[in-house]
Symmetry: C3
Subunit: 422 residues, 3 copies
């Protein structure tokens, strides 16, 4: 009896049983022989072989489908045998280009990189100025607010001292003063003169910025696989880098991008976008199969607009911010030039997953599929036992019935007598 | 014999065997018929059916538990049938608000966005100034150090020329000079006059900044699922956006946040935090189940303080940094205003995983659970063969023993004669 | 017959069959008893036990190998029983240190943090100035270009009005003017005088910056596990923090790093790197096993150079950018100091995965391995049926053949008569 009990596919079962036997102290005299039998006896299923072409064909077909699914989809398409790691990235950017503008107010002015790239560092997000509303000579004083529905007034009682309107430019003094000959508005303590941003220069002052180029240096690594690579590939040399510009067809690996090209690829019109600004995403896709040689792991660039240009369902469309340059004309008085800067913010977004063969996901995926192969048997059994004309015969041989009263009904009820009662 | 050998659940086995047969050249005359038999014969386990209510109930119970676990936990709670992707995000922020301060030193001053938001761009991290220690009119020269244990001196021999103390403000000249009537300190070459930051303005100069609002525009995408969405949802229109403020109960989808509300939600007191500054995390959780319609994928906002306010186990509590505005009074001399800026840095942290039905994780999870169903049989076998009173009978019918000497001991030892020796 | 059909390991099968039975209306009188039989009857495989030491040992060996693989590799090394989450991080940095420079052009100058750390905030990327090329007193005007192959000219016809050369400093006016006594270059409208960056100061002006220290405060969280931690560990007190410096051996948990030490650990020479700048990655690895107590989850720091110093296969080696300080000498004229800033950008890159026991990956991994245990049986069967001398005997007992004509060929062909035809 010991022998039989210890014969199971699962070691857990065996170990449990074995411990029970030993601890109970029974049968200790033949412990050794039992152990050996338990360890080296081999147990295998008794199988019924049916020579039925229908069921056999069905069995093979389902088996084939599952194996094909594993081979094609799991292994080839989804690469489920791989362990994955996500990318760690470092980006530096450098814009090049100069623009000459000639406006009636400011005269001839050349804009160079330190002036139109803000902040100047060149990290993974950089902003290129395309349009400006400058307000010169601001200083702390009092002046009438820009007219709007909430700032217009008739008398001092319409204004509230110390009140700061959310969309206003300063803090009200409580007085109502002349803004122009016909309009009176509340006076505010603020940096005066106030900025008037109702009219945006059109065409954009720095619309020619589309000819600027940007060099993007991107260094990625997959720490789990100790893999490092740069977007300046091995075969690219300095001479090529000095003259190339990214082009999806002719120069797909050149890391120098013309701003106008990127905006066009994102489906936008640079001259329109330059007016009010916006955000362009520069996506660098580093998805790599590291089972292949390192040279196949190359970045794929794509561009799309990230902000919403739809005027409904939006507030403050475009992209702008205000900054100021501070001056001191003499020791005591500080003046500033306020600049409302419209422009395009470029976000370099690096993403990707690397995969490399690893035994754990392979085992998990193959093992799980193997389980499904056992489902095939269940389906075929069902077909065999319900749809075949010989189903009663099959069932008779497949199942051995053993009743509560100890009778076995082994293969067919007629033969119970042969070895029913031991 | 060929026939039998080729009957196994595993194709690997069959293929191996088949190759052996073919390559050995034996049986080549009936190759075809063997092939067909091998391909279309069907093989199924012979089962012993026991009509025992105890074991049967146990079997069903464990089966039910496993299936319930899969249905409820794996599928419903953990959504293990889904493929996942992590979020890619782009953020832009815009602060609004003005403050009037009236200090004895600086007089009446209105602070607007370009002055108190640093840097002005509005990326995913923005800083709002809440307290300042300004030092006006600094220029390169020599002056006595701020008194401290290491800078106080009696004579020139206590100071070291060229020594730069880590927490000091400049480089020592080697002279010991009068700081005040009673105190002498080492002289330093530095931007003089030195900043004295021992006394922090209290209450915070820009404590009223809690009324400022910030508009957060967040654009996310899940590249694997080609899914894009903004935090300004479809049903929100421009009119609503111009006036709303985020409120967890009444306006949970308004992307405009009052600074004071965020700090309060993070469990902090704005007026206390404004004194020395700190870091507040604005968490936007984009966890989405993309098997549901897109409109159910909405951002969830939460706020918490990220720096440590605990004074023990800390150094330089709060959040501050120094920056300077540079002026030139005449061609040759540069002066600057040094500003020690205390304030709250808001980090917009976007995270989330999207899940969508995919056949691979489904197969893997179901397959693995199916494997566990086979464990049930092992457990029930063990119960059947050890705990039941009919265990000997069951064992006799379950196991067919075949000895080394070729005798089979099939179901009970008494019946060996019936078909023991072939 | 109902009874037999409903006896399968798979409930799917049973449920299907049951529905068929009920809906067909047949056997409805004994529905109840069938149901009970179907639910509580238990079915188990009939096994053939072979007492062959070879196959038995092989079986145990493979079983042992698979179980050892699971225990050691899957559980211990890969921790496949854990659910994982990736880190969310917030970083603030603060540099300390002063440098005195004494150049013939600029005289004695002390550099403090607001001057050499750009931008001043101290976020997860900070830049420390190490070398500068200043150009003082620039204003909008016209001047001859810096001589180069493309800017040298003989006459006005060599220059093109309005042309902006990519690597140039301004927009050409179309005139050819004297640059020096012997060289003529195209005149440009630009910020004049132009910067001449052909000679880089050597040694680096702020080469002593290697003695600066930076305090890095890092706050991480794993939202899935509601886990938060800082890189200033619990056992570190304020006194220690004020004086410590990171050292891999003596102070591995001190969050204050000497710049020179980091560059050395990255395998670079600070004085060389200071000349032209570069990017250093400060990697903070927060990989944690959250099944262990929280105190074992500590950050690991490492440093490496992220940009490419190899002069071939590169463009614009090192790291530099230009920024300007703007001045107004009188109301109308704006001048600026242009600074070409070389320096080291430090990118604090926080990464890591936390794992915590979760039932789903455990089930999936164990289940999949369990499937592989069934492979063992297949291998042993193959050995048993092809390599053993008793293979015919084993095959005879393992397979019961059932022919198309209804004859069963159960264990050996000789015994067909005993219970072949029912």
């Amino acid at each position: 009896m010991y022998y039989r009990l210890t014969q199971s596919v699962l070691t857990l079962h065996q170990v449990l049983r074995f411990i029970v036997d030993i601890s109970s102290g029974m049968g200790c005299k033949n412990c050794c022989s039992i152990c050996l039998q338990c360890l080296f006896g081999y147990e295998t299923n008794v199988m019924l072989v049916i020579n039925n072409k229908g069921v056999g064909a069905l069995f093979r077909l389902i088996q084939f489908l599952i194996i094909a699914y594993v081979a094609v989809y799991v292994c080839w398409v989804q690469r489920a045998y791989q362990d994955t790691d996500s990318v760690i990235s470092s980006v530096s950017t450098k814009v090049k280009g100069n623009i000459l503008t000639n406006s009636s107010a400011a005269g001839v002015h050349v804009w160079d990189v330190p002036e139109y790239v803000i902040p100047p560092q060149g990290e993974n997000t950089f902003f290129v100025l395309t349009n400006v509303i400058p307000t010169l000579g601001q200083r702390q004083s009092k002046c009438p607010e820009i007219p709007s529905e909430v700032t217009k007034c008739e008398s001092d009682s319409d204004c509230k001292e110390g009140y700061s309107e959310v969309h206003g430019n300063g803090v009200q003094t409580g007085r109502c003063v002349q803004y122009s000959d016909t309009i009176k508005t509340c006076e505010v303590q603020a940096w005066c003169p106030l900025e008037n941003d109702t009219v945006i220069p059109k065409p954009a002052l720095l619309g020619a910025a589309e000819d600027f180029t940007v060099l993007i240096k991107n260094n990625v690594q997959y720490p789990k696989f100790k893999f490092r690579k740069r977007n300046i590939l091995h075969h690219i040399n300095s001479t090529y880098l000095k003259n190339c510009t990214f082009d999806r067809k002719t120069d797909p690996h050149c890391p120098i991008f013309r701003l106008g090209d990127m905006v066009t690829e994102a489906g936008e019109d640079f001259s329109v976008m330059a007016l009010k600004g916006g955000i362009i995403g520069i996506f660098i896709d580093w998805n790599c199969d590291l089972d292949f040689p390192e040279r196949f792991c190359i970045p794929k660039y794509s561009f799309s607009r990230l902000d919403n240009k739809n005027p409904e369902n939006n507030v403050a469309p475009g992209y702008n911010f205000r900054f100021a340059k501070y001056y001191k004309t003499n020791e005591s008085t500080e003046t500033r030039t306020l600049i409302k800067a419209f422009g395009i913010r470029f976000d370099v977004i690096v993403f990707g997953m690397a995969g490399k063969f690893n035994i754990v996901p392979t085992i998990v995926n193959l093992g799980a599929t193997l389980s499904f192969l056992s489902l095939v048997t269940a389906v075929c059994d069902w077909v065999m036992l319900t749809c075949m004309k010989d189903r009663d015969l099959y069932a008779k041989h497949k199942f051995i019935h053993l009743n509560q009263n100890g009778d076995s009904v082994p293969l067919s009820s007629m033969e119970t007598t042969s070895y029913g009662t031991p």
